[in-house]
Symmetry: C2
Subunit: 411 residues, 2 copies
């Protein structure tokens, strides 16, 4: 069975994602789609609008055959580590091809850039160091260093999905993986677009904005099952998760910690934790807080990721002991279709890392950080509803979907 | 000027407290009353129903001339340390007499017991150790050890205020203080009584219960200024502080900490922190939680104090570095009357520790734990209202009361 891998967040899953999923399968002639998906907290350092089990179900309904959790330790990271974690999982599952969406759309342009990049490694690194010392943020430094040192490239490295693509392909090389890389051009919506412009495609950002607006519907831009799931969640819990809901807990954590404790938090560097501490005393909402913290040295995303680590109490020691393994040493299977199950059976002999579904005594040491993330994620729900979410970690997974009858068998 | 000291919590201040205050002044012929008062968290390990600045104002209106904060590090402790902290403050302020309420009412009975107790120190300590090893709680072990070893005493050492009285008097001895001790008999309500039985006196516990009941009024049992203040607080913040409000924050703290971190918390012993961790996953309210945690080895109060330290993130190291000083090394002045101000002026040369009012760079190292307690206490308020409470630490104190005109000049 041929497999194609996609790296996703589905926050929430919309028509653009369905297009990407379908196209990935078609262009690679794949039998199964493996979706590596961020859990409760996302790459931009924010809580997902609905929990991972709901987003895993959406992925299965949209055509994914296996949904694997990208652990917190990789999902809440800059592009290099985010890509590395996802590629290591796909590689472990014998995935034939990873197919990523990009602004560029032609894989040759990526290979050409990477080839050029290797010839200029030392000058690129020198440029990055120099830009950083001038107070530039890392993503800007990286992007401009590429532009300055590889003048012949056709790849627009100022665009976020192109950058992520470079990192996927470099991760494949890093792991000496036999996996292929390919790309499809993203249509209509750009990642950060706040307004829905295209007839049926809007960015997840725009869709989340619509969700908050009672006079607008998301139905033009998402499959009906996304709409149904989200409406059910809102009806049951009266909440969509966003940073504003977590602000009281973030403030409580910050104001009852001493600076020595805050310095231990992953990504707390250069006194940024103190800046955050003093800022949160003055803010009345999350936007306020970010405005108070923001400087040109740190991207919005970089700050949000640190806030996420403070909220989840994720320390440098904890994170480094996970990351030093260089790859994700297990598969956390959130959901599968019938075909996905067959794929795992066929491949099980050559998958040489354990496949975890629920959390138990044997795997808790691997999954502790993700369990903690789910606890932090749950904190904004009423006490008894929190328990539902925690129970899901121990008993819900894997969700099983019968794609022929379009119904869930488990979960 | 002669001074009498009282050790109080005023949660909230009621008619019984006014009686105690008036009687203390009369029986000792004192000119000024010094009230040492617990701050945001109380001896029984719970948040005060309204913040300390409001309770300090009630104390001044009821006739106290100086209101001094008993620091968190002593206010949330078993009777020995609670008494020790309070007596050390009164001693530092050259207080002539401490006057405590007791079930007994005659000071001679206390002195007689203490004299006897000294002659049986080693057998009492042996009994305590033996009872503890049988799984008895410390207060029970202490009380029964006294009963078994001092059979001739007339003091009923099974009663909580009698026990506290012993500790006040022993603390006076410990510090070689020239302060006198005396007692007045508590009237009508026992400390833990849940129902209001007497015509105008009810326990603070009973009054807090009435506050939650819309069909009942507290006006029979509290001075009108207490009723006004509490109603104003409820109108402004729509909350009276109780453990149930703090439960989401306590749960968040517990579930995003690892056991190694929880073991560092003051009073976390014998795996009690794990028992609390697993209990909080199952509970839907505070009563539930306590029922799940409770064993005969630990008193309700002992568990609540540990929960308080978890909530405020107060560690063993932090607490021990404060307690090793043996006495409170400063006076935190929350409020004063005109007469209280005069008293301080007259005595200032012989008060050999600093008097702090607001928190600032010079005293933050002494007041950090109390500031953290105020932050934790504030966490249940809306974000902007939290700021009011935090600001009070930096700018509000001392509250100044003109007792002749019955009005506040400052605060």
């Amino acid at each position: 069975m041929r497999s194609v891998g996609v790296v996703v967040e589905y926050n929430p899953l919309h028509n653009g994602h369905v297009f990407h999923l379908t196209q990935s399968k078609e262009t690679t002639n794949a039998d199964v789609v493996i979706a590596v998906m961020s859990g409760q907290f996302l790459q931009r350092g924010e809580p997902a609008v609905v929990p991972k089990h709901i987003r895993a179900k959406l992925a299965l309904q949209a055509g994914a055959d296996l949904v694997i959790e990208l652990p917190y330790s990789y999902s809440t990271q800059h592009a290099t580590l985010f890509a590395k974690g996802a590629i290591s999982i796909l590689d472990s599952l014998n995935c034939d091809t990873v197919c990523f969406g990009s602004e560029e759309g032609k894989i040759e342009t990526f290979f050409e850039l990477i080839k050029n990049k290797k010839q200029h490694t030392s000058s690129i690194n020198a440029s990055i160091r120099s830009f950083l010392s001038e107070g530039m943020s890392y993503p800007s430094a990286y992007s401009i260093a590429l532009q300055r040192n590889i003048e012949t490239s056709n790849l627009d490295v100022s665009l976020p999905n192109n950058i992520l693509g470079i990192h996927y392909l470099e991760a494949i090389e890093h792991f000496n993986s036999k996996m292929q890389g390919t790309t499809i051009k993203r249509i209509a919506a750009n990642y950060h677009d706040e307004e829905a412009t295209h007839q049926s495609i809007a960015s997840a950002t725009a869709i989340r904005k619509l969700l908050k607006d009672e006079n607008n519907s998301i139905s033009d831009f998402v499959p009906s099952f996304t709409k149904t799931s989200i409406e059910e969640y809102i009806n049951e819990f009266e909440i969509l998760h966003s940073w504003n809901e977590y602000l009281p807990f973030l403030k409580y954590r910050l104001t009852t910690s001493n600076f020595h404790e805050l310095e231990q938090i992953y990504e707390a560097v250069e006194g940024l934790e103190r800046r955050i501490f003093y800022s949160i005393l003055k803010c009345s909402n999350f936007e306020d807080l970010m405005t108070l913290i923001k400087t040109k040295r740190y991207t919005w995303t970089r700050i949000q990721r640190l806030l996420t680590h403070i909220l989840t109490n994720t320390t440098k020691n904890e994170m480094l002991s996970i990351l030093e393994k260089d790859r994700v040493p297990y598969i956390r299977l959130l959901g599968m279709s019938k075909k996905g199950k067959t794929y795992l059976n066929i491949n099980k002999k050559s998958i040489d890392i354990p496949i975890y579904t629920t959390i138990n005594q044997d795997n808790i040491n691997h999954l502790r950080t993700d369990l903690k993330a789910t606890h932090a994620y749950a904190s904004v729900l009423p006490l008894m509803s929190q328990q539902q979410l925690i129970n899901s970690e121990y008993a819900l997974y894997p969700i099983i979907f019968n794609e022929d009858e379009n119904k869930f068998i488990r979960g």
